[in-house]
Subunit: 84 residues, 2 copies
């Protein structure tokens, strides 16, 4: 089965309070040197046959992302089973 | 600046109602041929200097993922500025 991965992130100019909360917690973990953290979504779509990027793009645009505040990228993940 | 990407997904054996809801909505978009959908998180960490994978792994393990129900992968994203 072929897997298509859709990454949905807030646009760079949109405030990301969740990412800021993570960044603000890092000094308590002893982590320094982090400039910023952004939190988004990763969606894995398993197609039964050939992966259909055009269909995946349509799903992302209509269902997964809000195009007003979010950008998304769509790609085929080749060796999905091997990496997990 | 170097960007490290952390992908956090529910373990394969854990039920993902959000992914199932997306999969259930696809026929209404006219999309068939999708076997399953899983929804997880993508976190982008910008380091001010060199990306520190070990530190990113520690952040993911302690702050971003719940290791009981979630798996995560950590990787350096090279051409971050170019792709967005």
């Amino acid at each position: 089965m072929a897997r298509v991965v859709v990454d949905v992130m807030l646009k760079p100019e949109i405030l990301d309070p969740q990412g800021q909360a993570v960044a603000g917690a890092l000094p308590r973990l002893g982590v320094t040197g982090v400039a910023s953290v952004r939190v988004g979504k990763r969606i894995e779509i398993e197609f039964t046959g050939e992966p259909n990027l055009e269909q995946a793009r349509q799903i992302a645009d209509k269902l997964l992302a809000n195009p007003v505040i979010e950008d998304f990228t769509v790609r085929v993940e080749e060796s999905a089973e091997a990496s997990r």
